[in-house]
């Protein structure tokens, strides 16, 4: 082939492919609520998760309390991350967490007395919840205040989600109701939220007993893992 009848090759400039990375906010949210859920993935804080999730009201009460503790502690830890000495950071985090929990306990005692009574020891036990100190250590101590506060919100929402799902499952099977006693948390107007799903003389007692919590959690974990597996398969 002579030089003349060669087809001139156009120089095509290949533009670098822009990989659209999800925003930090979206990543934090999906990590906290789903892909790195404190209860359903890391399996942290199982004691309160199993103990108080026999109905949605208790689950919501503890979930909201944990959510506020996570937001508060993450914000405070992040605010002082540069001045907290590395060697004594853990006792400092524990004091911050204990302060937040005690403050929330007093507020619940004042404004949600019935829920405060039914949750009992599980409110102060938030102090020992590994999710709270885990996020302080792994995230809040290394990131900005806004990101840390949002991480606390997302992680707390993940815990709240886990509690409510398990609480709803056990309440439906055990009592045949949903949102029973929600007025204890939100006032008289929430009485109308109660739904009678299964008209049972006596529900599946096993569901609201402690063994039912373990089996219920097993089912929730299986469903979550199934959803994740299907998502992976699609990709």
């Amino acid at each position: 082939m002579t030089k003349e009848n060669q087809i001139p090759i156009k120089q095509i400039e290949i533009e670098p492919v822009k990989i659209v990375e999800p925003s930090i906010w979206k990543t934090l949210f999906t990590q906290g609520v789903w892909s790195n859920n404190g209860a359903l993935v890391q399996l942290l804080g199982l004691c309160p998760l199993l103990a108080v999730s026999n109905n949605v009201t208790n689950a919501l009460g503890l979930g909201i309390a944990t959510l506020f503790v996570l937001i508060t502690t993450n914000t405070v830890v992040s605010s002082f991350r540069k001045v907290i000495p590395h060697d004594i950071r853990i006792p400092i985090y524990v004091m911050i967490i204990a302060t937040a929990v005690t403050a929330i306990q007093l507020l619940m005692n004042a404004f949600a007395y019935s829920v405060y009574q039914s949750l009992g020891i599980f409110i102060p036990l938030i102090v020992t919840n590994c999710i709270v100190i885990g996020r302080s250590e792994a995230f809040a101590s290394r990131n900005s205040v806004l990101h840390s506060a949002f991480d606390g919100f997302a992680t707390g929402l993940g815990m709240l989600f886990s509690l409510v799902i398990l609480g709803a499952l056990r309440e439906i099977l055990g009592n045949g109701t949903l949102f029973d006693g929600l007025d204890l948390l939100f006032g008289e107007w929430a009485k109308s939220w109660r739904i009678d799903l299964l008209h049972l003389d006596s529900g599946l007692l096993f569901a609201i007993l402690p063994p039912g919590a373990f089996i219920g959690l097993g089912f929730v974990l299986a469903i979550k893992n199934g959803i994740d597996y299907r998502k992976k398969k699609k990709l």
Binding site: N54, P85, D87, I88, P91, I92, M95, I96, A98, T99, T102, A103, L106, L107, N109, A110, F111, Y113, G174, G181, S202, G203, L205, I208, L209
Partner: protein
């Protein structure tokens, strides 16, 4: 830097943080104290009204609370005295049944001086959800069967659950919990119509609550 200096510095930092945390909590406590007291008092008043209806008293019922400390009646905790036009009309007795299936059951019992039960409510328990927790009014109306029943020495033998030959229903699959409650209400009623009726001055020896 010397280890002792570092240790002292860290100790001071931890101490300072502990003081700050304490100060914050003192602030929150002072802000919520009034509300907490109001909420607790409101709940106590509403509970007392459930066992001794308003028609039975015109005094400050809650303020009459006295702590019962009797070695011969360890199941009794507190007593409230209802009066109408300065006449004794009823008592509200807080008592503990120690023989529940999962431990103590704390009850509030409204009773007239002659032994008529005005109402019974469960204050605290650790009974099995779905079985023993039917002693709670929000779950079942089982405790309302005591209302209006007279206790005296002639009727004492019927103050048992049906399984034991008495007049009170038990729960399906759970007899221990209702038996404990019935026994405690019977003991409290018996103490009221015998000891308290014969020696009403005994109340003056009891210490005021709180």
């Amino acid at each position: 830097m010397k280890a002792s200096v570092i240790t002292t510095r860290y100790a001071l930092i931890l101490g300072a943080i502990a003081l700050i945390c304490t100060a914050i909590l003192v602030g929150v406590y002072l802000l919520t104290r009034g509300t907490i007291n109001d909420v607790v008092e409101k709940q106590q008043r509403s509970l007392l009204l459930e066992v001794v209806p308003q028609a039975h008293f015109d005094n400050d019922f809650l303020a009459t609370c006295k702590i019962i400390d009797l070695p011969e009646a360890p199941f009794l905790n507190k007593i409230y005295i209802a009066k109408k036009a300065d006449n004794l009309t009823a008592y509200a007795i807080q008592a503990t049944a120690p023989d529940g299936y999962s431990g103590n059951i704390v009850l509030l019992i409204g009773i007239t001086p002659v032994g008529t039960i005005l109402g019974v409510r469960t204050l605290e328990h650790q009974e099995t959800p779905g079985l023993g927790d039917k002693i709670e009014i929000r779950i079942s109306d089982w405790v309302t069967q005591f209302t209006g029943i007279l206790f005296n020495e002639e009727t004492e033998s019927s103050w048992k659950v049906k399984k034991d030959g008495g007049q009170f229903d038990q729960f399906t699959g759970a007899t221990i919990t209702p038996r404990a409650v019935v026994n405690n209400v019977r003991q409290s009623a018996k103490w009221t119509v015998t000891e308290l009726k014969q020696h009403p001055e005994i109340i003056n020896s009891f210490v005021n609550c709180g």
